[in-house]
């Protein structure tokens, strides 16, 4: 870009370095300092855009929409019968595991604390 977009002119700092590190840990991610700083800045820039939502006058009784199209009974499929269908190729599913043995998926040691 030849110019700085207007919403980037002021670097906001809503998501601090400490908060960002906490989010990274919760998300089970890991990154070096350079990547962390770039992603933190992008998040703060996105928050600037998101903050437009706060300026919208909302009446208290506006319901939440979780799907655009209302799922009325008339267009919703009937619940399926609770019938067990054997999967034809379970080995294809197990075969995707990075490490498996005798039908079991192998993982490294699961962190645990021994109770006294």
């Amino acid at each position: 870009m030849g110019h700085t977009p207007f919403w980037l002119r002021e670097m906001t700092n809503t998501i601090t370095k400490e908060m960002f590190a906490h989010l990274v840990d919760l998300a089970a991610l890991q990154m070096d300092a350079e990547e962390a700083e770039y992603l933190r800045q992008e998040l703060n820039n996105q928050l600037n855009a998101i903050n437009e939502l706060e300026a919208i006058p909302l009446e208290e009784n506006i319901p939440l929409t979780s799907h655009g199209v209302p799922y009325t009974p008339a267009i919703s499929p009937a619940p399926r019968h609770d019938t067990w269908y054997p999967y034809p190729n379970p080995e294809d599913i197990l075969g995707q595991a990075p490490q498996a043995e005798d039908g079991y998926i192998i993982v490294p040691d699961i962190p645990h604390t021994n109770l006294e």
Binding site: M1, P5, F6, W7, L8, R9, E10, T12, I15, F20, L23, V24, A27, A28, L29, Q30, M31, E35, L39, E42, L43, N45, Q46, N48, A49, I50, N51, E52, L53, E54, A55, I56, L58, I62, P63, L64, T65, S66, H67, G68, V69, Y71, A74, I75, S76, P77, P79, R80, N89, D92, Q96, A97, P98, Q99, I105, V107, P108, D109, I110, P111
Partner: protein
């Protein structure tokens, strides 16, 4: 004109008349791929020099993987059916590509991410299954932004990323960039894409082809690798309206494997197609002719859509009026500008939730080196497997849905979504003041932009979708149609939005527009990569 440049409808006619074979159609498509596509995208680093980069810059790079053997077997089966006098199916002998975010049994199904680079799907997505059952020939899997997170297709772990067949220095658009590029360049006649905030319509507009985002629930999501589950819609990309209708006819309808696939009759899109627009009410809204973006101080910046694009939409309105439609101006859509801010929240929360399943345990990438414990394995596998876009979406999704911020962000965004839906409900209400059959708008605020121009700026990239995203919030269908070329020779798209499950009407209006513009000079111009073959 090669066979691969013809429409699915025309190919089907020639096939049934036994003037051509499915194998000949397939050979034509494969020859086009060899001529224009170059090397497929790969997640592995490639030792390259300047020559490789120069060679890459001359090619489209729509594909990630090929399924030529399966396509040959399928073509052979179609030809045998025709020889026996049997019906080869609605898509019999028609070559198509699949955005690599759909699982297809036995193929690598990567979502253009390193974390799924080695994943071979054990089952097939419903829309693909239906296209194969209708006799379609699947050529391979095509590129996308990683997990569909992007609007330029540059954010793919599988490089080189697709280029625009009209001008190879421009992006193909995204996230269904490989789909749009493969159809525009004649490599495929049809492609299956997905649209979460414009990911079918924007690349289709950038590449001068047609793309439809069906109503949420019109097409099953079974076998689609999820991005934002309340917004994702599979849909067709094609070069003609009739072909779009044929493909949607094939993939739409209820599915026992997807309880959000609505039990609504699909009808017969092809039978409705030629009925014209007489008496239909088509709206124009000033809110779709300006781009609103936020300033850091809470004020808004407003710019008109470029005149070239706006005039193309007005010209379409005049043509539809001349064919008997009624044009209703000044339809208010006041919540249009909130679409992207609400999307930043809703899509991130859903994406973060959907991405927790990638952990290096059950499938996908696991760090090869031994590690001390499971938690470290999760972190290192995800750190190396995900690119920056997935990481950003996970982190933002977790932030805005955290207990202390949820009311401020997530719940508020869902209320704004209600208001956005309300704009459409009012515009389409058969007893309301506007009673629209469709809203006519530009598809994109610009034509295809230059590779590298926006990539890296995640806010600006997201705003590329602002004329598309509200159809996803509202769940309604939207279609983009090629409508001319700008001064730089790049395609301009127009968009039609309609009420829930009004695909038949949208296709009808689209067909009328196609007829109204069939003799225009721009209809004769072909993408540069195709012109250069002649």
């Amino acid at each position: 004109m090669e066979l691969c440049d013809l429409s699915a409808f025309e190919l089907g006619r020639l096939l049934r008349q036994r003037k051509i074979s499915a194998m000949e159609i397939l050979d034509s498509a494969l020859a086009r791929i060899r001529a224009v596509d170059g090397r497929p995208g790969t997640a592995e680093p490639v030792e390259g020099n300047g020559d490789l980069a120069r060679e890459d810059a001359q090619r489209v790079h729509a594909f990630i993987s090929y399924t030529e053997d399966q396509a040959r077997a399928q073509a052979d089966a179609v030809d045998k059916k025709i020889a026996k006098g049997e019906d080869p199916g609605l898509l019999g002998g028609i070559p198509f590509t699949v955005k690599d975010i759909f699982c297809v049994r036995g193929t690598y199904s990567t979502a253009a991410s390193r974390i799924l680079a080695n994943f071979r799907s054990p089952y097939t997505a419903t829309p693909v299954e239906r296209m194969l059952a209708a006799g379609g020939l699947m050529l391979g899997k095509v590129n996308l932004d990683e997990f569909a997170y992007g609007s330029s297709n540059e954010a793919t772990a599988f490089q080189p990323s697709p280029r625009n067949p009209w001008n190879l220095e421009m992006v193909a658009g995204g996230s269904s960039g490989g789909s749009a590029a493969s159809v525009a360049s004649g490599e495929a006649v049809l492609s299956l894409g997905t649209d979460t905030s414009g990911s079918i319509r924007q690349p289709a507009a950038f590449c001068g082809v047609i793309g439809i985002k069906p109503t949420y629930g019109r097409v099953s999501r079974f076998g689609l690798i999820a991005f934002a589950s309340s917004l994702d819609c599979p849909g067709p990309i094609a070069r003609t309206v009739t072909d779009t209708a044929m493909m949607l006819q094939t993939i739409a309808g209820p599915d026992r494997n997807d309880n959000t696939a609505a039990v609504v009759d699909v009808g017969d899109y092809l039978a409705e197609l030629e009925k014209g627009v007489r008496g239909m009410r088509i709206g124009l809204s000033p809110d779709y002719f300006r781009i609103t973006t936020p300033n850091p101080d809470g004020t808004f910046n407003e710019e008109p859509v470029p005149a070239e694009i706006a005039n193309t939409v007005y010209d379409a309105a005049r043509r539809l009026k001349a064919m008997g439609a009624e044009i209703i101006e000044d339809v208010p859509m006041p919540n249009t500008r909130y679409g992207i801010p609400a999307y930043f929240v809703i899509s991130r929360v859903e994406a973060a939730s959907n991405l927790h399943r990638y952990d290096g345990v059950k499938y996908g990438y696991r760090i090869p080196e031994p590690v001390d414990d499971l938690r470290e394995m999760y972190k290192l596998s995800r750190a190396q497997g995900f690119g920056q876009q997935p990481k950003l979406r996970i982190l933002m999704g977790m932030y805005v849905s955290a207990a202390q911020y949820s009311a401020q962000y997530y719940q508020r965004a869902l209320r704004v979504r209600t208001m956005i839906r309300g704009d459409f409900v009012k515009a389409f209400d058969p007893k309301g003041p506007f009673r629209l059959d469709a809203l006519l708008t530009p598809t994109t605020p610009t034509t295809a932009f230059r590779l590298g121009a926006i990539y890296g700026d995640s806010v600006l990239m997201q705003y590329a979708d602002q004329l598309n995203v509200n159809a996803n919030h509202a769940g309604i269908p939207g279609i983009t149609l090629p409508a001319g070329l700008d001064a730089g020779g790049l395609p301009v798209g127009i968009q039609l939005l309609g009420p829930d499950f009004s695909e038949a009407n949208l296709l009808r209006i689209s067909r009328a527009y196609e007829i109204a513009t069939q003799d225009e000079a721009w209809r004769k111009v072909r993408p540069k990569v195709v012109q250069e073959l002649a």
